[in-house]
């Protein structure tokens, strides 16, 4: 099953990925970000917040955005 996965952390990955049928949003998050905590992220499916038991469907659009993103003063070169 193909879904759109957008990760606004780090490199800002945004592309279609294949996931197993019946995968929940919680499982996807753990699979994609094994060292992170879900409460540190804003997770939306099809632009809406969903419960962690939400079962992903074909063509769903999943976005993951960290709640804390550190700004920094640019280093002059």
């Amino acid at each position: 099953m193909r879904i759109m996965y957008i990760n606004n952390d780090g490199g800002g990955f945004a592309d279609f990925i294949n996931v197993e049928e019946g995968m929940t949003i919680e499982k996807l998050f753990k699979q994609k970000m094994p060292h992170e905590e879900a409460h540190d992220y804003l997770i939306r499916v099809n632009r809406q917040p969903v419960p962690k038991e939400y079962v992903l469907k074909e063509n769903d659009r999943v976005t993951v955005t960290p709640t804390k993103i550190e700004g920094a003063r640019p280093v002059s070169q």
């Binding site: 957008i6 606004n8 952390d9 780090g10 490199g11 800002g12 945004a14 804003l42 939306r44 632009r47 976005t63 955005t65 960290p66 709640t67 804390k68 993103i69 550190e70 700004g71 920094a72 003063r73 640019p74």
Partner: protein
Amino acid sequence: MKKYKKHVRAANMLLQALSGLKKERLRQIQKKMEEFSFKCSEIDKNSHSFNAAVNRGWYLAANKITSRVGRNLNDFSHHLDQFKNFIATDDIKLPTLGDIVAGMLQIEQEYGEIKFDLEAKTISVITDSIALEDISFGAFEIRLFINEIKKLHSESPYKIIALEPNPAGSDDEVTHPHVSHEKLCEGDGFIPIRKAIGQGRLCDLFTIIIQILQTYNPDSPYVALSEWEGTSCYDCGYTVAGDDCYYCENCERDYCSQCSTYCQICDTTICLGCSYECPDCKKPVCRHCTAVCKECDEMLCTDCINEEGLCQSCEEKRKDQNNEEQKEESTEANSGAAVLSDSMGETIVHA
């Protein structure tokens, strides 16, 4: 549908800007290709020269060409890597008009009203009031300039405008630890922001910016929260708390304790730049407590100038001179008397 007229018009503008961005990227690829092609032609030229040199037995020239080729190969590999990396970065995938409008509706759902200025071609979102570690910075307007999107890779096409500014004491242009002159220092958000803009993901863009505004990075702020309320020393720039700040009454600016002093005659606070060190007693004094010696024109503190307006050394010189004159006068008087007593009627002629 009329309700979303502005959304659709703004989405269309954004789509056009993204097409322009895509075109710009293709132009950059073309430019890189030309640069690469030029590097290849240099190798070709070297190959011909090398061939000619070997055929004619010019081994010294052949050696020179070999070392030049060696150097050029290093450059070549650098350019090749750059070119490969540039090509490998994500292509700009244009969103559909529907995707952009859906993003706008998501913004309204998550952050409230979205403001369009279709003449100025801007899209704005107003944040809630932002506070970090009990310091409130008020609400901010995040204004995206659609026309500026084409410069995405060199400049930020948006501004962060403080609506109820509480700027840092040391710099009025710093309205948030990571915002200066309405520019956000994106830090970890740099790449995700560019990708979100490039792919027309408006809600992701505003969300990332808001998350940056709500996060404090103590390692690299423009002004640290601990120094927010302070005043910047006009001389060294160090931020000082209100109580440790010294106001120079001469130049009317604020200074830290290291860059200020006080006049040791009248006790006025002055900065080091406005203080004058008396060359005689070495005390720092303000300009009001200085005077010029009438004799040598040197500027000293008023304590080192006597009532006659002379410095100590001129005063001593004058005393010596007076003594000399007195001596001379008494000598003259004595010798005059001697002449008179010994040689009555002779005239005294001074040498």
